[in-house]
């Protein structure tokens, strides 16, 4: 068997598709070919589960080892089916959404997709690229007539989430050895995840601040933002002092 064919066959075996020709080639001192292959399947599953649990520790704790392992298996199939090239761990929240919608065992954990989104946002904030030093001095070079076109640039670590379950409270609760009882109240709110002194942090935002950050992250101009959020100036002071925005940019004028 040629090397390329062998690799394809081994890959298929690890995905659960038997290949008789490959099995005839496999040798071991004391295991049958199927046992060798199962060993690799188990190792893959175990490693994947361990890696996902590092990214989603509270989700893993809430689901328990068996359910989380099953979810991890499903995530593995999802990776193969979709051929995703995104970083490992992306998309677990959407898979959880599918699972919580379709599986009765997860009826009491409807908040899990949002909790997983929070945990993923914390990972992104923790590992995000460094921001350039804050710079608003260049504002003085922008003519007043052009200022309406300015865009605010957010910190690269900043993540904004629209949640309905109290997932920040749940996450905080599970940082203790003995988590207390969960009080689940369904209410739409904004969560901001950011990095402070190298650590990821999250906090709840007012509705106007949440809408403002959403506009900034979508690249809206100062003019658009001022129409969307009436108390813009008040919020801008806060955004600058928290280093949630780092600088402004003046995009090329497409009308000229």
């Amino acid at each position: 068997m040629h090397l390329a064919d062998l690799q394809t066959a081994l890959r298929a075996e690890l995905d659960g598709h038997p290949n008789a020709e490959l099995r005839q080639l496999i040798t071991s001192a004391s295991l049958a070919p199927e046992q060798c292959l199962q060993l690799y399947r188990d190792l893959l599953a175990k490693t994947r589960t361990r890696a996902l649990a590092q990214l989603y520790p509270v989700t893993a704790q809430l689901l328990g080892p068996q359910l989380f392992h099953a979810l991890s298996q499903q995530y593995g199939h999802h990776l193969v089916d979709t051929g995703t090239v995104e970083p490992f761990g992306t998309g677990l929240a959407s898979l959880l959404k599918h699972c919580t919608d379709s599986q009765s065992t997860l009826q009491n954990l409807q908040f899990l997709p949002e909790l997983a989104s929070l945990e993923w946002a914390r990972n992104l904030a923790w590992t995000a690229e460094e921001d350039p030093p804050q710079d608003f001095d260049s504002l003085i070079y922008v003519p007043e007539s052009e200022q309406y076109r300015l865009r605010l640039v957010a910190s690269q670590a900043l993540q904004l989430l629209r949640c309905h379950w109290p997932v920040l409270d749940i996450w905080n609760n599970y940082q203790h050895d003995h988590p207390g009882k969960l009080h689940l109240r369904y209410r739409a709110h904004w969560l901001c995840v950011y990095r402070h002194l190298d650590s990821p942090r999250a906090e709840t935002l007012s509705d106007s601040l949440g809408r403002l950050l959403k506009g900034i992250l979508q690249g809206h101009t100062l003019y658009q933002l001022s129409r969307e959020v009436p108390d813009l100036n008040q919020h801008l002071t806060l955004l600058i002092s928290r280093r949630w925005i780092t600088h402004v940019e003046l995009p090329p004028d497409s009308s000229s």
Partner: protein
């Protein structure tokens, strides 16, 4: 022509775990160098990267990865390679290493290192890929022998011959993992001492030591226990053959306090010193 090797680090090092960063920085002379597991630190910013910069101020560092998939038929991941190169340059690492295996295959991503058959075809394939990577990085890399849980009966070359020939043809170095050698010996019946004897000393630039899980009918390369006695015995033999080769203690799961790992470091350092003392002058 006798190749002159510049040894940019020496002695026994430890693999970096994030829970040990401050302890390692404060460990002083007990640790000679630190190996960074690339996949756990390949970030663009943040605490993990800052930890590496702090460590680099105190120790020589090496990079060890599992993502090059040098035996794979999938195209090289040039994005991964670019990030690897940038990180190696930023941290001024002594060297970087990966494995003789294939993991990811196109859209199939594998955390596990999958074994290659030891054939001329595989040798040609991996040699060409190593050369491509070395040309891109502008430096030689080290390739590690894998722990195998299966072999292929159409292999035509022994593991030792394969590694030696690969290193010679690609002009790369070898990272000899003695735990992997022992695990493969147990699982596949390949004589580890025979493998060692076939390796050219001037190509072996690093040795890995770790613990395994004994499942009776097979051994797993667990990296979660102290180094086992048969592996220490292999290490004593290896240090006679590859004297003063820098050695790393790997411990990745069920991580104990650093002091426990430093006990293993101390034992490896002692064996290395004994080998240096008894080395025949040449």
């Amino acid at each position: 022509m006798c190749e002159k090797i510049h040894w940019s680090l020496a002695g026994t090092g430890v693999g970096l775990k994030s829970c040990h960063v401050d302890d390692i920085i404060n460990a002083g002379d007990g640790i000679r160098w630190v190996e960074i597991l690339l996949e756990q630190h390949l970030f663009n910013g943040g605490a993990a990267l800052h930890d590496l910069e702090r460590l680099r101020c105190n120790y020589p560092v090496t990079l060890h990865g599992t993502g090059l998939a040098l035996g794979s038929f999938a195209p090289l991941d040039m994005d991964y390679l670019a990030r690897l190169k940038q990180m190696a340059n930023n941290l001024e690492v002594s060297w970087l290493s990966d494995h003789v295996s294939f993991g990811s295959l196109g859209q199939f991503f594998s955390h596990e290192l999958l074994p290659l058959p030891y054939t001329e075809e595989a040798l040609d394939h991996i040699t060409a890929r190593i050369s491509q990577v070395q040309d891109y990085l502008g430096r030689r890399i080290l390739l590690e022998n894998p722990a195998c849980y299966l072999g292929f009966n159409h292999s035509t070359i022994s593991e030792g011959e394969f590694l030696a020939e690969m290193a010679q043809r690609a002009d790369c170095y070898l990272l000899l993992d003695l735990n992997n050698c022992y695990v493969t010996q147990y699982n596949l019946g390949i004589d580890a001492q025979h493998t060692l004897a076939q390796l050219p000393a001037r190509r072996v630039r690093e040795i890995h030591l770790a613990g395994f899980d004994d499942h009776d009918t097979y051994l797993l390369d667990g990296h979660n226990t102290p180094v086992h006695e048969p592996v220490w015995t292999l290490y004593e033999q290896a240090q006679q053959q590859f004297t003063a080769t820098p050695t790393l203690i790997e411990w990745e799961h069920d991580i104990p306090p650093l002091s426990v790992i430093l006990g293993e470091v101390s034992r490896a350092q002692h064996i290395m010193q004994q080998a240096i003392k008894t080395r025949r002058p040449y």
